[in-house]
Amino acid sequence: MSALTDVREVMRRDQVWSFLKDEQKQVDVSHEVILYVEGLNLSFDGFKALNDLNLYVNDGELRCLIGANGAGKTTLMDVVTGKTTPDSGSVYFGQSINLLQHDEADIAQLGIGRKFQKPTVFEALSVFDNLELSLKQQKSVLPMLFARLTPTEIDRIDEVLNVIGLKEQCFMQAGALSHGQKQWLEIGMLLVAEPRLLLIDEPVAGMTAQETERTAELLTSLAGERTVIVVEHDMEFVRSIARTVTVLHQGSVLAEGTMDQVQNNPDVIEVYLGEAP
């Protein structure tokens, strides 16, 4: 059986010449689901960070992931973006793309963007340069060497600068931004790449109430066209944006549903929301 698949894989004509390969493989979402995570297991030195985790996210959905510290939220994102290889399980992007066969760079090129828990921007580069590098483009060595800023690209960057409100700081070194501004810049770096799926880890940490509100607006407006998965501890924020909430606990899914359903779920009350009214 697997021999047959191997043979098929070998016989594929489009794999012979690299120019026959689709640069950006189209994601097949004919069954509405864009991300399939099934039976994921991962242990660090015997500690099970992910434990038979199953998760399905629909195309265009805005999904919130919540869970106590160490529940495995960040680890799940690590697996989806190719940073960590799980012990077992499968992760599919659409019907056909097996993400476990791709590395970080490939996965990014496929259209999965990620914002880290700790904001990471390129500190020595200007805000503009950070966005320029994040643009959706041919990202191999030679094209990058000869790339010129096109008017379309400038427009795109300008648009994003407006959205993230860093127009004034455009030529400032990213390292000189405040914590909240870095968060925004990182979100901007995601937006400018026009990904299909965004994984956003704790976007509002370190933001003021006003900034938080703007982030909520932005994320809600993204959903529909793009699929967004947000990890956040700020319950107020989650309530303000969430349609479907998934609760992780000790590396597996404990409950899933609307915010109200989840909050009234006895398991959830016991392990997670128990102490809060």
Partner: protein, 391 residues
């Protein structure tokens, strides 16, 4: 929008053009001072000085090679002497074969050391080295291919930081040991020397010396401009991005190891060219050039000048080597201590090197100008270099 365009252009300005102009003018003056002035004139530049300057410029080119990878990409190579020496050996082999039957043993085919070892025919890797074009090809190919293989293995396995530095030291040390062996066919510990001429021109002639010096200066200028262009391009921004956050760069879709490999190869090519220019000017190449200590010295030149600035690397190499010449004349044994002290001083008090100091002074002079758009090229490269270089 137009404003944005204008800004981004403005943003790319730098001091490379004036620096190149100064370099070219000084080279012309020194060359004319040697060739046109009578020996008793105050403007006369001795051939000894010309050769010394040529040697410094080769070191400057080497420092540039180190800065390209260390200053901009955070890859601290402690083995760049290897690429320099390989380029030098390729040139040395060509010069050796130009000696022809003028050697001590008068063998038209074999260099003296081979006759001495009772070899009867030229080893395969000496074939073709009597052709200048072929030798020059080897000057580029040998360091380039070695850098490619080394870089490909190291960067693909994601070796970084101290481990990578140690590997580069091991690389140059292994080559040092290999080239010391007579059986290798590179003249053992005496190396290659007693060169007579290059492309038919007598190596001892003033005109040849001046020409070699001028070619070195010219190539240094060209390489500086090209490197600057590369690092200003979008690829250059990726390089800096890799230095600041390699995994972040991967997550936005860059195959960082490929960028690193090609930059490493580019840097090795520059080092190889520097070595090839060095050998005809100093008249000898021996395994000592592979010594790990040499490679560490190069890093100090760059640190003194200021990493991540290109010009700083050149200035650092020139100044430190000038100091070395002066110092060793007075206290031959003290140089290593002086070098160590210099390194400690720069690390503690001048983390951004002389270029950083220069920039700070310029900023003070016009405080209104410097803060408004906070990041001209030097500033943006100099600041995080501290981080990029932490090993």
């Amino acid at each position: 929008m137009n404003q944005l365009m204008r800004f981004s252009r403005l943003h790319g300005d730098s001091k490379v053009a004036p620096f190149v102009a100064i370099l070219v003018v000084l080279t012309l003056l020194a060359s004319m001072g040697n060739l046109l002035m009578p020996e008793d004139s105050a403007f006369y530049v001795s051939t000894y000085t010309i050769t010394l300057l040529g040697k410094y410029l080769c070191y400057a080119m080497l420092a540039l090679a180190v800065d390209v990878i260390w200053g901009y990409c955070g890859i601290l190579s402690l083995g760049h002497g290897a690429f320099f020496a390989l380029g030098g050996y390729a040139m040395g082999m060509y010069l050796m074969r130009q000696i022809g039957d003028r050697g001590v043993y008068g063998n038209p085919e074999l260099p003296d050391f081979m006759v001495f070892l009772n070899w009867t025919e030229l080893p395969w890797f000496w074939q073709g080295m009597d052709q200048f074009w072929f030798a020059m090809l080897m000057v580029l190919l040998v360091p380039g291919i070695l850098a490619f293989i080394f870089g490909w293995l190291a960067f693909r396995s994601r070796v970084t930081g101290v481990y990578l530095s140690i590997m580069t030291q091991a690389l140059t040390y292994a080559l040092l040991l290999a080239f010391f062996r007579n059986e290798m066919g590179f003249g053992g510990n005496n190396g290659l020397t007693d060169f007579k001429d290059i492309l038919g021109f007598d190596l001892q002639a003033d005109t040849t010396r001046v020409t070699l010096f001028a070619i070195t200066a010219l190539l240094l200028a060209v390489i500086l401009v090209v490197s600057h262009k590369i690092l200003q391009s979008r690829m250059g921004k990726v390089i800096v991005a890799i230095r600041d956050g390699e995994s972040r760069a991967r997550f936005i879709g860059y195959r960082t190891e490929r960028f690193k490999v090609w930059l490493f190869v580019y840097s090795a090519l520059i080092a190889g060219i520097a070595g090839a220019l060095y050998v005809p000017q100093v008249g000898i190449i021996n395994p000592g050039e592979f010594s790990p200590l040499n490679s560490i010295e190069m890093v100090i030149w760059v640190a003194v000048g200021g990493r991540g600035t290109l010009i700083g690397a050149i200035v650092g190499a020139l100044l430190v080597n000038f100091a070395k010449t002066k110092f060793t004349a007075i206290m031959p044994d003290g140089w290593l201590f002086a070098l160590g002290a210099l390194f400690v001083f720069v690390t503690l008090y001048l983390p951004q090197g002389l270029m950083g100091l220069y920039k700070k002074m310029m900023d003070k002079r016009r405080p209104d100008n410097s803060d408004s758009h906070g990041s001209d090229t030097e500033g943006k490269n100099a600041e995080p270099a501290v981080k990029g270089g932490n090993v």
